[in-house]
């Protein structure tokens, strides 16, 4: 192992997760009242934006993401240097998981499945919340879980 991937300030992805958490709070608050009749409403368009942002992080990596630019321009200047650096791979994988989940939400919504958008958004919200508040990368845990199951 030890693929020499990009090293990141681990607080960067957490800062991004905090913005994602707020975004999904808004999506859920707007989406739940209209969950039974899927339409091209504000919740839909905000989930489209969230999906694009996840896709961006997944394709180009979390260090070339708008949230990373925002972090470097704001909070990073106020914080002391990070005590350790983090590999880029785990947060990037987490972005991919987020992308797939929100894409499923969009697909279910397009198919007219009631509550599809809300359920996918709820999953993304939980993952972003855990990352922002506790520093727990749920996508990364999923990966190691898959690794364990495959070995059985």
């Amino acid at each position: 192992m030890n693929t020499k991937s990009n090293q990141l300030d681990p607080r960067g992805p957490r800062f991004g997760a905090a913005i994602t958490t707020v975004l999904f709070v808004v999506i859920l608050l707007l989406g739940i009242p209209t969950a039974s009749q899927p339409a091209f409403d504000a919740a839909w368009w905000l989930l489209v934006i969230a999906t694009v942002l996840f896709g961006w992080g997944s394709l180009l990596g979390p260090s070339r993401h708008p949230y990373a630019w925002l972090y470097r321009a704001s909070l990073k200047k106020l914080l002391p240097p990070p005590p350790f650096m983090e590999d880029e791979a785990p947060p990037r994988f987490a972005q991919t998981v987020g992308f797939v989940i929100s894409l499923i939400g969009l697909a279910l919504h397009l198919l007219g499945v009631p509550w599809g958008l809300v359920i996918a958004s709820a999953m993304a919200f939980v993952a972003a919340f855990l990352n922002a508040v506790f520093g727990l990368c749920l996508g990364c845990e999923l990966y190691s879980l898959r690794l364990r199951l495959r070995r059985r």
Binding site: V25, L29, P83, D87, Y143
Partner: protein, 170 residues
């Protein structure tokens, strides 16, 4: 007055947006959101309490061929490809191995050491073992641990080794 009107017109878009948001908020949405926050907080606290959990070594050993030769204690790190805190732990263990005499740090990927993973039921990365030269596991640490706590464990392990060798001499 003029200044105030100026600001109002600027923030009108945001205001309308927030007002729409508040107007469309209903009891169901708020309770679902509150439920999600509670569930994730409980999950997060549970996860956090498991981080850095130290368990004493059991009867099982790690094969000395996997350890660093010529050291009385090996800090045996198990890492995974997508592990957020493995590089942090690597730094902590490397610093500890230079600070304490006769202590070495080795790192393995989960896929390289299936027998250790099975024997000790390793379920998270990073997991760190404190192993004596003969392969005896003194401690198993799940998740990252603070440098000071690690220093204490190493000092305590050295005391134990010294005590045992004293008994042997008597």
């Amino acid at each position: 007055m003029l200044g105030r009107r100026h600001i109002t017109s600027h923030t009108e878009g945001l205001e309308t947006f927030l007002l729409t948001l508040v107007a469309t908020m209903d009891f169901l949405a708020l309770s679902i959101l509150a439920g999600l926050v509670v569930v994730s907080t409980v999950a997060g606290l549970l996860w956090r309490s498991r981080q850095g959990a130290i368990t004493g070594g059991g009867e099982a050993d790690i094969s000395p061929t996997l350890l660093a030769p010529g050291h009385w204690l090996t800090l045996f790190q198990v890492s995974a490809p997508l592990c957020s805190y493995c590089s942090a732990m690597r730094g902590i263990l490397q610093r500890a191995s230079t600070a304490h005499e006769g202590v070495a740090h080795v790192e393995y990927d989960v896929s390289e050491i299936p027998e250790v993973i099975d024997k000790f039921a390793v379920r998270q990365a990073p997991t760190t073992f404190l192993v004596e030269a003969d392969g005896r596991v003194v401690h198993q640490i799940g998740g990252p641990i603070a440098p000071t706590a690690l220093d204490q464990l190493i000092t305590q392990a050295r005391e134990d080794v010294r005590k045992r060798s004293d008994e042997y001499e008597i």
